[in-house]
Structure formats: structure tokens, C-alpha cells
């Protein structure tokens, strides 16, 4: 393959944009599952930033970090979905505003 250079700024900007979009989605959504999906988007964007950084320095460290993030996201999704199941069972709705007994 011929040598090419992808500007690092472009990669980081992409990661940043995706992160913002995920953040926006977390803020405006009431459905819990959508919040979870948005968190996944944010995690993926953070991982992208790591890969870009690792590729810039030509080290495998960035990819190693991404593997860890992946593991953590997987564990988090499984536990989070189990919790969502319980919430749905208790409250009969997926509205996150319904789970407000800890207010005040």
C-alpha cells in the first residue's frame, strides 16, 4: 500500500464529534435503553480517539486500551440491561423519569 497520511486532527475531530452526538443523545432521551445506546456511542468514540493516538505513535498501546474499553463496555451493557429488565419489571415503563424515588 502506498504511504498516505491521515491528519491526526481529522481523526480526533471525528472522535470528538461522535462523542458530542452521543452526549447530546444522553441528554435528550427519556427512554432508558436509548440512554444506554448513547453511552455505547460515547464509549466507541473514546476508543476511536485512542486508536488514532496509538497509530500516530506507531505503538500497539492505543489498541490495547481499546481492547480494555471494549471489555468494559461489554460488561457494562450486560449488567445495565439486567438492571433495565428489573426496572421494567418494577415500574412497567421504560421512562427514566419514573425512577425518581431518590429525589429530595
Amino acid at each position: 500500500m502506498e504511504k498516505h497520511t491521515i491528519p491526526v486532527e481529522a481523526g480526533l475531530l471525528l472522535a470528538g464529534t461522535l462523542f458530542m452526538l452521543g452526549l447530546l443523545s444522553v441528554l435528550i432521551r427519556r427512554n432508558i435503553i436509548f440512554m444506554l445506546i448513547s453511552v455505547e456511542i460515547m464509549l466507541n468514540a473514546a476508543g476511536l480517539a485512542f486508536i488514532v493516538a496509538g497509530a500516530r505513535w506507531a505503538q500497539a498501546d492505543g489498541q490495547v486500551m481499546f481492547v480494555f474499553i471494549l471489555t468494559m463496555a461489554a460488561a457494562e451493557v450486560s449488567v445495565g440491561l439486567a438492571l433495565i429488565l428489573q426496572i421494567y419489571h418494577q415500574l412497567k415503563t421504560l421512562d427514566s423519569d419514573a425512577a425518581n424515588k431518590m429525589k429530595g
Partner: protein
């Protein structure tokens, strides 16, 4: 290569915006898969072929599928789409958008100030990742194992539904 990169990133951004704005859960998840695939392409372009494969297998293939299964288990009614429309009325976007845009602007500012060089294409394949992972970062591997273990145990325990068990004699009396 550069054009491929720009196309893939555009697809990623667009599909993410679609994820954000859908009312139907399953539709949103479909767009999410597309977004992940686009990101996988970007990873490949950056030389991380192993990670690209992982992204597709684990993220798009396992996590999203898990979410789809759970949605299926929830047995949502058709009215849930209408509820979603109800919740996502117009004015809701203003405040968060402002915050997100401010943050994005700051990010742009920081990144552009630093002034970095381009990324040359280096092929860091699975072997390099493996050597690094099981070399200096082996403790992270152990910790990830523990994390996954706790995830499994937690998911099992939290997902259990405890039914109220009534004695069969009493059941008959109720009827």
C-alpha cells in the same frame, strides 16, 4: 486512502445522527450497526486491522445483538413508539444542543491549537497487539477477566425474576 477515510467518517456521523433521532428502538439500533461498521473501516485505515475485526465482532455483533434480545424480552407494545414521539417534543433539543456545541467548539479549539503531524500508515496487526497485551499490560488482562466475571455474576443475579410461589392448595382455593 484519504478519501476513503472522509467517506467512512461522513457515514459514521450521519448514521449516528440517525440513531439519535429515531423513535423506534430497533431502527435506531440498525443505524447504530452501520455507524460501528463505518468506524471499523476507519480503524482499518489507521492500520489497526485486528481492532477493526474486534469492533465488528464484539460491538456490532454481540453488544447490539444483546440489546436487541433484551428489547425482545421486554415485550414492548406498539404504543411505545408513540410514547417516544411524545417525549421527544421540539423544545427539548435546545439546552443540550447548546451545551454540546460549546463543548465541541472547545474541543476543536484545543485540537487545532496543538498542531500535530499526520499519521503514517503502520500495520499494527494482531501480533503486535498480543505482544503488548501479554507483555507490559498483562495486569490489565487479569483485571479485565475479573471485570467480566463480575459482569457475568451481576447480570445473572440482577436478571432473575422472583416469582411469588403460592402453594397449590391455596391456588385452588383462590379459583
Amino acid at each position: 486512502m484519504l478519501t476513503t477515510f472522509y467517506i467512512a467518517s461522513a457515514i459514521a456521523v450521519v448514521s449516528t445522527i440517525m440513531v439519535i433521532t429515531r423513535h423506534n428502538l430497533i431502527h435506531a439500533l440498525m443505524y447504530l450497526v452501520v455507524s460501528f461498521l463505518a468506524i471499523a473501516v476507519v480503524f482499518y485505515l489507521l492500520g489497526a486491522s485486528f481492532i477493526a475485526a474486534l469492533e465488528v465482532i464484539v460491538y456490532a455483533g454481540a453488544i447490539v445483538v444483546l440489546i436487541i434480545f433484551v428489547i425482545m424480552m421486554l415485550n414492548l407494545r406498539a404504543e411505545s413508539v408513540d410514547e417516544e414521539k411524545e417525549w421527544m417534543k421540539g423544545g427539548i433539543l435546545i439546552g443540550p444542543s447548546v451545551l454540546a456545541i460549546v463543548l465541541l467548539v472547545e474541543l476543536f479549539y484545543i485540537i487545532s491549537n496543538v498542531g500535530m503531524t499526520g499519521v503514517e500508515y503502520h500495520d499494527l496487526d494482531a501480533k503486535a497487539v498480543g505482544l503488548s497485551l501479554y507483555g507490559p499490560y498483562v495486569i490489565g488482562v487479569e483485571l479485565s477477566g475479573i471485570l467480566l466475571m463480575s459482569g457475568i455474576v451481576g447480570a445473572y443475579h440482577l436478571g432473575r425474576q422472583k416469582k411469588k410461589i403460592v402453594h397449590r392448595f391455596l391456588e385452588k382455593v383462590e379459583e
